[in-house]
Amino acid sequence: MRSYLLAALAVAATAVPVLTAGQAHADSASSVVGRVQPLNTGAAVYEHVCQGCHMPGGKGAAGASSGFPAFAGDGRLQSAGYPVYMVLNGRAGMPWFAGMLSDKQIADVVNYIRTSFGNHFDGTVKPEDVAKMRQPVQMEEQ
């Protein structure tokens, strides 16, 4: 698991698919990243990373509990620090993406979510803002 996060970083940094050695995550058998989408825009990050849970259009979805929050009109997005923190560190059902997404990709997707789906929150997040908030989160070796 940890290794694909590293590999994803390599892809983001060089834009050249790099196959790295893999420690698979338990029964994942998925020690290979493959050619990950380039993810050059906030919309691309949203489509290829976020919408698997938060759904197309930021609609969210409820399951056995409140499920994955919708983004349209979500007051918690008022402060940009909140989504940046959540994407970096995760919480509850939300995984952390500190190892998988670059500062720019996180800034892009936070800006995208705060200005899409009918949202018009003020202020733009810059990659430097994300960099300042990073703290260590590492997948444990399996």
Partner: protein, 533 residues
Amino acid sequence: MTDVHQHAAPTRRQMLTRIGLLAGSAGLYQAMTSMGHAMGTDFKGSPDLKGAKKGTRVVILGSGLAGMLAAYELRKAGYAVQIIEYQNRAGGRNITLRGGDVVNELGGYTQKVGFAPGNYINPGPWRIPYHHQGLLHYCQEFGVALEPFVELNHNSYLHSSAMFGGKPVRYRDYASDFTGYTAELLAKAIDQHKLDDVMSKDEREHVGAAMRGWAGLENNGAWVKGVRSSLRRGFERPQGGGIDGEPIPSDLLPRDEIMKSGLWQFMSFHERLDMQTTMFQPVGGMDNIGKGFIKQVHDLITLNCKVTAIHQDDHGVKVSYADMAHGGAMREVEADYCVCTIPLPVLSQLDVQVSGPLKAAISAVPYASSVKLGLEFKRRFWEQDEQIYGGISFTDQPISQISYPSGGIFSKGPGVLLGGYMFGPAAYDFAGMTPEQRVQAGIEQGLKIHPQYREEFSNGVGFAWSRMPWTLGCCSMWSEQARKQHYKALVTMDNRIVLAGEHASYVGCWQEGAILSSLAAITSLHKRAIGAA
């Protein structure tokens, strides 16, 4: 060198006593393991729950393997047990899809599985390591038939989009060449005296001999095209009979591409403790394990209960739930103790009355996203055309792998492949697609390895774990930081409530984790209940 025959051979017990004295219990354990006594697992047999006060009530939340095992063992010990389950089925992530099954996912997407009778895909767990002795123990106790699961198949493919012309190569060819070239380099370094400073003359000879024999090098230490290398990697024209029986050796793959492709990681994959032979699967589908458990505890399970709150005080536990089979009517169940196996992404959003540290732990472990594709084809072309019987082909494309069924080998008629199995970025990506798009992407990528996909495809299903309403993810994803800070709190009984499931173990994402965690949880509960803790 001591001549062992000078002394009477010590008995096994004498030997173990000596080792125990010299090396302590860790050394003793290691020695016992190597002498065949201890097993490579934490499983110590059925739990000892003697002395339970008859009729002590336990409510179990969730009917996956952890919940059903807790119910089975606690009832046996004399507890009054009931299980409440969110889904309209028991078994949890132990699940198999067959023709006619319906998969509903978040977002309102529905898939109806179109497989032919007898065919199936295991969207969750699908293989069992031989050392998962807890799970294997209960499979035997409940009469679940198991068969070998083919993990490593030398005739499967490895595929790199950028190397070997983008064409798949046989595992056998790649592995033989990787080993051959590597051994050749080491043998050469020894012959050229480049390792004289790290190895004595004796050792250089031993290592040199090992390299030549292990990798199948020529006597001069070279890995080259010839009969010897082809006896590993296969011949261009196979050994035959009659006038044209003489085999023709095969060409090697280029060394630089062998190394640069990185495909060696799939050789390394099978060497992991979790993936070593012999692996097993239940005959006919993974859910036959779930069915074995259900047979034991079916009378204790109430389906369609959506838990909303778990409260406790000095007298007992109160669980509130919506009875989905009766219009969502709110109901309560009271008990003395609670075993909660609800997946953490769901549990973290419920009203749960537990201490701060446990609450924090519940929110500290997200679940990984994972996607599996089950593709049915009109015939088993991988067996009929390519002599691939079970095992896995790996690719650097997002689908990451194609796995061939270990069951029903040589059968006629349609067959089902695991057409993709993803974690990480590719899983996020595939989960965000519609089910039809997932299957379509699986076919397009699979075509690079099996051109027969085009002609033979019949139907498929794309199962995205993060879109399952009942788990909101595949399985626990522990960070080093969370493990250090929260694991102990997560597995410690909190007054009358104890958690169980793969997430409450160090065997995360495996069914064995659910088994071991369940046994640990009910042991804690029992100690608490009889006043010993």
